[in-house]
């Protein structure tokens, strides 16, 4: 008797096999079908994964042997350190708090970014062009560099302008002379206008200068997000001293307990 391979119908039921459905493969699994250069996962990928995991494990051991995690005195609600800072990965929000309404800076802006602007990126930029290539092409690289410089310079500039205006008595002036006092225009109107205005300006600029397509201007805005994030984290970590005043990073006073 010859053995047949694969699952067999029960005796007497051979005729009951029937076509259930015809599934076009790419409706379930959207693979790109191309003849291409492939490598076996065992060993090529697994070796890389193993080595990387081991290197990082060793690195983590070394770092943990050299540096101790911080532990200060027992929590004391009556002793406020000056300044009190959030962990570094939230300092960009704490920095924004200094420049606009708290709810706008701490809740609305980050929520809009993380639950709306970031997730919709693939639904805005839907072409498949440039996938798998860093920055798409040389124009993409230029847009990236331009947006990075634009955002870094402007974010620093805005922080310094705000500090200068405040020390020139702008808040007092605003509460007496502006409609809505020191809240409406300084806390809402100006920050919202500046944030959206500069983003729109960036898009217009990359379209003008580099003839950016959709991928191009999405690239510009994402780069703006990344660099604004980094600059704000940097300023929050290394340039904010007691009273959340601005200091040069190399002159930062220690926290007053």
């Amino acid at each position: 008797m010859t053995l047949q391979r694969g699952p067999q119908p029960y005796p007497g039921q051979e005729k009951r096999l029937r076509l259930l459905a015809f599934v076009r493969q790419d409706s379930v699994v959207r693979v790109d079908k191309r003849v291409e250069d492939t490598a076996m996962v065992w060993p090529h990928l697994l070796v890389i994964e193993f080595i990387v995991a081991m290197l990082w494990l060793v690195a983590l051991f070394v770092i943990s042997a050299l540096f101790n995690a911080p532990l200060q005195d027992h929590a004391n609600p009556d002793r406020t350190p000056n300044p009190s800072k959030a962990p570094w990965y939230l300092l960009q929000l704490q920095e924004l708090l200094l420049h606009m309404d708290k709810g706008l800076a701490g809740v609305i802006v980050p929520s809009v970014w993380i639950f709306f602007l970031l997730p919709i990126i693939p639904y805005v930029d839907r072409s498949r062009e440039g996938v798998g290539t860093w920055f798409t092409n040389s124009t993409g690289k230029k847009i990236f560099l331009f947006s990075a410089v634009y955002t870094t310079v402007l974010t620093f500039a805005l922080i310094f302008i705000d500090a200068a205006a405040k020390s020139a008595g702008y808040i007092e002036w605003a509460s007496q002379n502006l409609p809505g006092g020191k809240v409406l225009i300084p806390d809402y109107v100006i920050p919202i206008t500046v944030m959206t205005g500069l983003s729109v300006l960036l898009v217009v600029l990359v379209k003008k200068l580099f003839g950016a397509d959709t991928r191009g201007w999405v690239n510009a805005l994402f780069t703006g997000f990344v660099f604004a994030f980094l600059v704000l984290v940097f300023v929050g970590t290394s340039m904010r001293g007691p009273g959340m005043d601005l200091y040069a990073p190399w002159n930062l006073p220690t926290t007053i307990e």
Binding site: T38, V52, N68, H74, G132
Partner: protein
């Protein structure tokens, strides 16, 4: 001499128990290499073959894999830390102190958990950056990018909830900043603050809530989303690459 280890190896491989574990020979042929991957529950997250350029470190920076690696390290060290830590305002701080002074390797354990947590925020951020600039979110990977943004949010929340647990000055005042932000939510500020912190000041309720979120709630959701993330990578045709 040298035949002896070879003979032992041969014996082990023919052994009934060994063969009940592994249903393929040593992965030195294509067939056995494929079987090694897809008969193993852990390895079969991978396809049997990948496109060559997906192996390139300049392409992925290994950042997704490293984020996952750090997630595993954090789960392991975190579970060990749980043996010594009680989430109450009476005990939390002294338990951490004991960890550093009394528990064998306690300090090392705590350091590893701490630095891996900071590291994961960095690797996840860099992973997002590499996925964006290589255009890897483009069709058919739209949805996996969305899953990714949620993972980014969860990673930050995991780190942040953990930050309170030592109940020292650093933790207390850093989380106070967060409390003030939550309370400033327009319209429902008080409700949000109460929900997250269990009261209108940072006290025992906040500590317990953050603890439960940190060790159960958020890790479960994260693990769940990572599973979806990895499944989708396979279903979207593997790591992206030039058309």
């Amino acid at each position: 001499m040298l035949e002896i280890p070879a003979q032992i190896w041969e014996k082990v491989r023919r052994n009934y128990i060994w063969r009940s574990l592994f249903r393929h020979g040593y992965p030195d042929s294509r067939k056995n290499q494929s079987l090694a991957v897809f008969t193993n529950v852990f390895l079969h997250l991978h396809p049997v073959k990948v496109r060559r350029h997906a192996l390139a470190i300049p392409y992925t920076w290994c950042m997704g894999g490293l984020s996952f690696f750090l997630f595993l390290v954090l789960t392991l060290t975190g579970t060990l830390l749980m043996f010594y830590y009680r989430p109450t305002t009476e005990w939390a701080y002294s338990d951490i102190k004991d960890m550093e002074t009394v528990v064998v390797f306690g300090q090392l354990l705590r350091n590893m958990h701490r630095w891996a947590a900071h590291g994961m925020v960095i690797t996840v951020f860099l992973h997002m950056v590499r996925v964006f600039y290589t255009g890897s979110y483009k069709p058919p990977r739209e949805f996996n990018w969305v899953v990714g943004t949620l993972l980014f949010f969860l990673t930050i929340m995991l780190s942040y909830t953990g930050y309170l647990l030592p109940w020292d000055q650093l933790a207390f005042w850093a989380v106070t900043v967060g409390y003030n932000i939550a309370a400033a939510t327009p319209v429902i500020g008080n409700e949000v603050a109460f929900l997250l912190f269990g009261g209108f000041e940072l006290g025992p309720n906040a500590l317990l809530r953050f603890y439960v979120l940190h060790v159960v709630g958020l890790p479960l959701i994260t693990a769940f989303l990572i599973a979806i993330h990895f499944w989708r990578i396979r279903k979207d045709g593997g790591i992206s690459g030039p058309l």
